[in-house]
Structures are given as C-alpha cells and as structure tokens.
C-alpha cells in the first residue's frame, strides 16, 4: 500500500488526513499517483498543486519518505509499495 498524507489547508479541503492506495507497480510516478487518487475521491485537489501545464505551484511541498521531491525526480519520481507521501503547504510568515 501507498500512504498519502495531507496537511494543513489540503487536509481542510479534503476533510480527511490520509488515504491508502494499492501499488500498481514500479512504473507509476508521484504525479500519476495523485491523479489516480483524485479520480477515487469526490473532492478535486490537483488544481491546488499544479497549473494547467502540469507544473507545480510554489507553496506546497511534496515529500516521499521524508524527502522533498525536488531532490528526487520531482513529479516524475517513481512510487513504490510502502512509500509514504506527504503534501504540506507550510506557513510562510512569522
């Protein structure tokens, strides 16, 4: 299973803190995983993360097993069974 955790404003939007999806093999990317999740749930959320060209908006960090995907293969990072994905829009002010 793949554990997908939502934090902060995304958690409020989805009214749920985590989802579990079965792995479909090693070829799936993080972007494909999130698209698959969106099809399964009633509330669209990808428009909060990606623009029309599929580029990430600044503001939300996506982590796989504690590492920001910008230090992996970004949205092309492959997902494997047992991975923990976290989506977190941090507060910027102080």
């Amino acid at each position: 299973m793949i554990n997908i955790q939502f934090y902060s404003l995304l958690r409020l939007l989805l009214k749920q803190e985590k989802f579990e999806l079965a792995s479909i093999g090693d070829d799936e990317t993080i972007e494909q995983l999130l698209q698959r999740l969106q099809k399964q749930i009633s509330t669209p959320f990808l428009q909060k993360l990606l623009d029309e060209q599929g580029e990430m908006f600044p503001g939300t960090i996506i982590m796989i097993n504690r590492r920001n995907i910008h230090h992996l293969e970004k949205l092309e990072t492959p997902i494997q069974d047992g991975d923990v994905v976290a989506l977190f829009p941090p507060g910027a002010g102080g």
């Binding site: 958690r11 504690r66 920001n68 230090h71 941090p90 507060g91 910027a92 102080g94």
Partner: protein, 223 residues
C-alpha cells in the same frame, strides 16, 4: 526578588535543576515580530540567562494586532529599542543584546548562543540564518500563515536542512495574513519546544508539529 520566589510556579512544575539549565542558556531570537515578540517575552519571564534579538524593522501600525511588545506610542521606533526596554522592565536579571540587522548571507551568530529561534517572516532570511549556524546547533523553526502554522526542531548538520525541506515553498506575494491569536498560539508551541530542547528533551526534532487553528487540529510530519 529571590529567584526561588519569582519562578516558584514553574519550579513547582519542572524543578530547580531545569530552572538552572534555563538560567545557563543563551538564545538568539531571529525576527522580533509576530512570533519573536512573544517568544522573547515568554523566555524572559521564565528566566532564561541571555537573549540576543535580531531584527531591522520599525514598529508600524499593522504590527500591533499581534506583536505584543509594542504599543501605539512606539510607531516609527526601531523594534529592538522598544523590545529591549520592555523586556528589561519585565525581568532585569536577563541579559539582552540587540543586533539591529537583516539576516542575509553575511550574518554570523554570536559565539555564545546555545539555541536559535527562527521567528522570521521570509524564506531567504530563514535559509541564511540556518546556513550561518555551527554544526550541532539546535534551530527551532516557526511559521504561520492565516489559520495554519508549524514548529520544527532541526540540528544543524545532522538533520535535513530547512532549505532542503522547504525547496519549492516560495514566499507568497504581498502581505501574509496573520492574527494575534494565531501568532500567540504558535509562539507558545515554539517556547514549549525551546524549553524542551534546553532540557535535553526536544519533542519536535526532525518532526513538524502542524497546527490548524480553524478546525483545531494538531498533526505530526516526520522529516
């Protein structure tokens, strides 16, 4: 006023040994605004040994909803001038040094700092602050935006860096929404973690505490 009497209520809670640890600690507060003004005040009230305050701002009207050290009569004054004056009125036994500067790539923290509070309001300064620290230093990060905020403790050179964690989290355009209640709640969590860290028991080392103020949720995220 003897310390035993002044700090009686908290010594009942954490004991004399921890009060001594607090007395021996030196903290640097980076940013004395919504978070930093309250963090510094609580540390001074608790009897920390020494504080360094770093900021380059002047008190302005939009600060007054949440920056608890400042009043209407302070508008236009350097924040650090006012902050030091108010903090010394609260507790003259605490040594307070001010560093009137913006934190950029030239920043170097004083050598005697034992713990650092990131109360800044922008990512570039946060990353410069972290980069300036010696290996092994404890950094307590706090951030708030609207009704969401987070606290995280990192140990320089051992934890992931803040810059690595927050890669792609760009600064929002314009003013950031912050309320007095939100800033005060996040400040309280920061100070609680500063105490824990001074007492050698950080609870948020490599672990975000994420605070949702509208639906009152707390969540952890390991990094």
């Amino acid at each position: 006023m003897p310390a035993a009497e002044r700090y009686n209520r908290q010594i009942l809670h954490w004991g004399k040994d921890r009060q001594q640890l607090l007395r021996a600690a030196t903290a640097l507060i980076a940013g004395v605004g919504g978070l930093g003004a309250t963090v510094s005040q609580l540390l001074v009230r608790a009897g920390i040994g020494k504080l360094y305050l770093v900021d380059d701002g002047l008190v302005d009207w939009p600060d007054l909803n949440r920056q608890l050290l400042y009043n209407e009569t302070d508008i236009g004054q350097p924040k650090l001038t006012i902050a030091k004056q108010r903090l010394q009125q609260i507790n003259k036994d605490v040594t307070i040094e001010v560093l009137q500067k913006r934190i950029d790539q030239s920043f170097q923290p004083p050598a005697d700092v034992s713990i650092i509070a990131d109360c800044l309001d922008n990512y570039p300064s946060r990353f410069h602050l972290e980069a300036s620290l010696e290996t092994g230093s404890f950094l307590i990060h706090g951030g708030i935006e609207g009704d969401q905020g987070q606290v995280l403790t990192l140990q320089k050179g051992i934890s992931q860096s803040l810059a690595d964690i927050f890669t792609s989290a760009q600064q929002p355009q314009g003013d950031i929404p912050v309320t007095g209640s939100g800033a005060t709640i996040l400040s309280g969590f920061m100070v609680n973690e500063i105490f824990n860290t001074i007492f050698f028991q950080p609870q948020l080392l490599n672990r975000f505490l994420i605070v949702g103020l509208s639906d009152l949720h707390l969540a952890f995220l390991d990094v």
